[in-house]
Symmetry: C2
Subunit: 316 residues, 2 copies
């Protein structure tokens, strides 16, 4: 698979392996697979047909987000495609276009596709391994949050989940408002805030991860890795949910569940030392608390455990 070469690609496609610059002597690396009927459907209940462009974009976005979540900057991708023999060539070209468009439009200007591999299977599967650099900085891990830190969000939460609910509904795309259609687009072509990861690192973020499985589950991961509790404030959660209310009302669903349980927007959840100004793009949504005696790591909403009523407390 060809791609525009960036400075980081020292040897591109065509040999047994590619060679990529790792300027500070370290390489940040992540890998992720999207499989047909698991991570996307070719045809959705509401009639929308997933394009190759969507799948390519999403593969780029998901992987770039993992690099972003370390506070790093992507330098390169390698792609392994598995395709059923009946896949239309145009669909595959579209996928390659979506991949490069995602890289470019999401702002990963220093990243290019350095190589790839193509094989056959019964279902479409796209695996991307993405490489990045920390530009001589320290990575932001999940484990560094300290009691008293501010918990902050960059990007959106729940939009992709709302888009998924719309795709799985029987409301045709044509009947959606512009705002509702934008949610569908965000599910198909996520927009992780790629400038925010390195900005958080520069601003002294103590912990960070990308929200791929929802605020509650990813918040729990941060809490567990850092041995703390994270406490979400109802105010910002309500504002996040309010933005999704038109879609929720159309479907008779609860926008709060999308905000707390929806991943795939690939926003960033990060913690910052108390009193330090948040970098551009981040909004405070809670705080980090020390664990009480006999208390395990957990996620709370306004001080109440999210799995014993906190959710309901906020949602209704």
């Amino acid at each position: 698979m060809d791609g525009a070469h960036s400075d980081a690609t020292l040897l591109g496609p065509g040999d047994d392996a590619a060679i990529v610059a790792s300027p500070d002597g370290r390489t940040v690396i992540s890998i992720d697979t999207q499989v047909q009927d698991q991570d996307f459907r070719l045809q959705w209940p509401n009639g929308y047909r997933t394009t190759g462009f969507d799948v390519g974009w999403k593969a780029a976005a998901q992987n770039l987000s993992d690099i972003n979540a370390m506070g790093a900057r992507a330098t390169s991708m390698v792609v392994s495609l598995t395709l059923p023999p009946e896949t239309a060539v145009g669909w595959v070209e579209d996928l390659a276009d979506g991949l490069t468009a995602g890289i470019r439009e999401l702002g990963a200007a220093s990243c290019s596709v350095a190589g790839g591999d193509l094989g056959r299977g019964r279902e479409i599967s796209v695996t991307v391994a993405v490489l990045g650099t920390l530009d001589a900085g320290a990575p932001v891990l999940r484990s560094g949050a300290r009691p008293g830190d501010v918990l902050a969000l960059a990007g959106t939460a729940g939009h992709a989940a709302a888009g998924l609910a719309l795709l799985e509904s029987d409301v045709p795309v044509d009947a959606l408002s512009d705002g509702q259609r934008a949610l569908v687009e965000l599910q198909c072509r996520p927009r992780p805030p790629l400038a925010s990861g390195p900005a958080a690192r520069a601003a002294g973020a103590t912990a960070m991860l990308d929200i791929s499985d929802g605020l509650l589950r990813d918040g729990m991961r941060l809490a567990t890795a850092s041995r703390v509790a994270v406490d979400l404030n109802p105010g910002p959660l309500k504002r996040l949910a309010d933005a999704l209310r038109p879609a929720a009302e159309l479907l008779g669903m609860d926008p709060g569940e999308w905000v707390l349980g929806g991943g795939e927007d690939h926003g960033l959840l990060a913690t910052f030392p108390p009193g330090s100004p948040l970098p551009h793009g981040f909004t405070a949504i809670g705080s980090v608390q020390a664990l009480g005696i006999n208390e395990g790591p957990g996620v709370k909403i306004a001080g109440r455990s999210a799995d014993t009523g906190g959710w309901d407390h906020f949602a209704h």
Copy 2:
């Protein structure tokens, strides 16, 4: 997925991405996918059942071979597994064991599994991205062969193809001789000569690639990239074929076709300047020739084009 940490793994599994050392400021990177029923069968016609260990080993071997073929040394792998929900946990544990055993027993002591990803699909699919270092040396590309160079092979050729033919036959494994069974084992658990890639680079190899699709096809790739013809000597080809004769006779097949057309042994095909001593493990099997007027890159056997009789000339 956990793995023993090597010096190169600065941050292992558990965060959004792993961090791997790239000591000379460059990273060699390759990616490859194995899919059930395409790259392996869970149950073969001869009765052999592919183990998770086999699949893990083969995934390691194939990817390590790509790094080897650049003259580089593997430092790290990330693995993305797609599994049908009914896959037995024991099979998956076996796969992880095969992966780490392959890395260790093939001699990639500096390599470890730095991270991974697990998802669901209708068929088993294993993608590995492998990272390597050139230890401050220059990579050996496919494009550097020069007229007069010696063409040499490290490792075996045709053994994995013979093993495949045995697996696809109706001769049960129990009825095979030790030698025949070893061919089956090499198909299931290839043994690329990992010391030979860096040794070839150190010895001044001008071009190199790993044989994944057979001497003829991979020879053609080297010839095309280097704008030369490569001429195989019948003597060494015959010796390679003779080693496969017991299996060929059992199946009534031509061992020469395995030698010329069989990949998956992941031997190395390399070219060396005339007169320079070949590194340990390499055997001369031919030479590099300048292209004649109006002649395109190609593969010959004893001076005759391999696709216009050269093959037959050798095989019979």
